[in-house]
């Protein structure tokens, strides 16, 4: 697997489409983080406040929702998709698949090597982006993040890597299912559009159909919101959004429906890291399960594929 891994790693870093996408995300991310730092400075002057570094990832200027995590949530999947959409079908079309598999390597070495090389590239890329944001923060705010902030940023990195890897696994599966790279790319983009942008609309409609009547309008509304969230959480984009917001905003203490009664007597203190992690644990395991399921499907399909020159 090592030979495939190193070859793929070199290919990914040299691929023009990857470099272009990475530069776009990096520029947009730096711009979002710089804007956030200006907002933080405007609001609090030069004085440090609690978890101010985390606000670099979650704050936007004015009414705009364009934050760093928004960029990563939207365009991160494109990075994952760009690394896997032609993983197998291009080898097949080029005639290199037979050549590779007639060498003394196990068949799974090819798909594993490609997958882990892509994950390495994604890990390095996301880490660099996070470090750039921290750098922007150090430069503009003039102080370093605290230990708790660093731990939350590290967990944010892990959550982002899992999220982007889900899209990578999906694109590898499509590269096996479709003979042409362009078709697998379009399928990946289509699913990304549906799960990221259209599912929230569908979930509202589905919730209205499922919960049509109840004891009172309040209960109906509450039930509908519950159903909407259940449906939304089928999408990795929704799981990622909720988990990163919880990690990077320690004020969030629940991801369920909050009533006024729930808020009675609650002190507006940030929750400890352990509590934030326990809140997003189902989200992280959900994304990991999606990743494992999709990659296992791709793996099995590849292992059973009839190889023809």
């Amino acid at each position: 697997m090592r030979a495939v891994y190193w070859k793929e790693l070199a290919d990914f870093f040299a691929a023009r489409r990857f470099v272009v996408l990475l530069l776009l995300i990096a520029l947009a991310g730096v711009w979002a983080a710089y804007n956030a730092s200006q907002v933080i400075l405007d609001e609090a002057g030069q004085a440090p406040t609690d978890f101010v570094f985390l606000r670099l990832f979650t704050t936007s200027r004015g009414d705009s929702a364009i934050t760093f995590i928004f960029f990563l949530g939207i365009f991160g999947p494109l990075l994952g998709l760009s690394l896997g959409f032609n993983a197998i079908n291009e080898e097949r079309a080029r005639g290199t698949l037979t050549r590779l598999l007639s060498q003394p390597i196990h068949r799974d070495a090819l798909i594993n090597g490609k997958f882990f090389a892509a994950i390495t590239v994604l890990g390095i890329t996301i880490l660099c982006l996070v470090l750039v944001i921290i750098g922007v923060g150090l430069y503009t705010l003039g102080f370093a993040p605290g230990t708790d902030e660093m731990a939350r940023i590290a967990l944010f990195f892990v959550a982002t890597l899992i999220y982007v890897s889900v899209w990578l696994a999906l694109s590898i599966l499509f590269s096996l299912a479709f003979d042409r790279a362009v078709v697998s790319a379009m399928a990946g983009l289509g699913l990304w559009l549906v799960l990221t942008f259209f599912l929230p609309f569908f979930s509202t409609s589905i919730a209205e159909i499922v919960v049509s009547e109840g004891e009172s309008p309040e209960i109906v509304s509450a039930d509908r919101v519950k159903w909407e969230r259940r449906i939304d959480r089928l999408s990795p984009a929704s799981l990622y959004r909720e988990s990163t917001q919880t990690l990077l905003n320690p004020q969030i203490r629940t991801l369920g429906l909050i009533t006024l009664e729930d808020l009675e007597g609650v002190l507006p203190n940030p929750v400890p890291l352990g509590q934030s992690v326990s809140l997003i644990w189902p989200h992280l395991t959900g994304m990991l399960a999606m990743l494992a399921l999709i990659f296992a499907t791709a793996y099995l399909r590849f292992m059973r594929e009839e190889i023809r020159p």
């Binding site: 390597i105 190889i307 020159p309």
Partner: protein
């Protein structure tokens, strides 16, 4: 002679369709075995089963004693495969492509670099080692394919249409490469092709497959007799100067049915393989023998006879 490639009742079914039907085959060390048949006859499926890339429905195959299904890694480490259209990474140079093959075969970087240079020289691409593959002609890529196969120092080479798409001027070089593999390096070669006139020059034994079944195996002469070419064969003797005495002496050789003259060529019809006797007589009674070749055992004719029968 030791059998290097063995197939025993090798069968592959896709649903009700039988692609390869009870294939039994033995190929000895150093042989160049021609594996011929029409499109869809099951050649490629049989080859893929030998390489461990397709699992047989029944039967077994062994290469160098390794079971092709249970020990595919061992099989692939001694077997080089050249498919009809071997793919390369176009953005990499010829050398880089071979180095990747070397790394897949567990070679150290230094060993792979050394081997790649040697192999590129061997296939006549020494000066093109740094050229990107997508800038190479089809013929050059085909030669690079040979290089790729040789990179792993194989003991067995299986080739599918090695001369397909190559200009006639380059074919002799290719055929020399194949015979060189067999004679100089002792590599056992199994070659599948539709270009039978080329294959006739290099194959020591052939097998004909039709509808998944191996319908004939043997030397070209043996197949000529089996396929109803009669008991006779015609040998053409090209001599320096034709002499009536030589013609008469040849007719007295046991097994010779008749002799016809065509310019300075004597066409000798015989009932058995009497080439050594013919050569001896030609040397004793003629001014010199330039060449001797069998004319009625043309592989294409034998091949067609098998399919006409069906």
């Amino acid at each position: 002679m030791t059998s290097v490639i063995e197939a025993s009742n090798l069968t592959k079914r896709y649903g009700d369709f039988v692609a390869v039907d009870n294939l039994n085959l033995e190929i000895a060390e150093g042989e160049i075995f021609g594996f011929f048949g029409p499109n869809g006859a099951g050649k490629t499926t049989a080859i893929l089963m030998l390489l461990g890339l397709t699992v047989p429905s029944e039967g077994s195959a062994r290469i160098r004693g390794h079971d092709c299904t249970r020990e595919p890694i061992a099989v692939k480490s001694v077997t080089g495969y050249l498919p009809e259209s071997l793919g390369f990474y176009g953005d990499l140079s010829a050398r880089e492509n071979l180095l990747y093959t070397g790394s897949l075969n567990g070679m150290s970087r230094m060993d792979a670099v050394e081997r790649a240079e040697h192999v590129l020289e061997q296939v006549g691409l020494g000066e093109r080692a740094g050229q990107r593959v997508d800038q190479m002609s089809h013929g050059m890529r085909q030669r690079l394919g040979f290089g790729d196969v040789l990179m792993k120092r194989p003991q067995v080479v299986i080739m599918d249409e090695p001369t397909q798409g190559i200009d006639a001027a380059s074919v002799p070089g290719m055929l020399n490469l194949i015979t060189g593999m067999s004679k100089q390096e002792g590599i056992t070669v199994m070659v599948s092709s539709h270009q039978l006139h080329y294959m006739q020059r290099i194959c020591s034994r052939v097998g004909i497959i039709s509808q998944g079944r191996l319908v004939a195996t043997g030397t070209i002469e043996e197949l000529a007799r089996q396929s109803g070419g009669g008991d006779s064969m015609v040998m053409e003797l090209e001599v320096v100067k034709l002499d009536g005495n030589l013609q008469r002496e040849l007719t007295h050789v046991p097994g010779v049915k008749g002799v016809m003259v065509k310019g300075n060529v004597l066409a000798v019809e015989c009932t058995s393989d009497v080439r050594s006797d013919l050569a001896r007589v030609a040397l004793e009674h003629g001014d010199g023998l330039l060449s001797m070749r069998s004319t009625d055992t043309v592989l294409e004719e034998i091949y067609l006879r098998y399919f006409q029968e069906e």
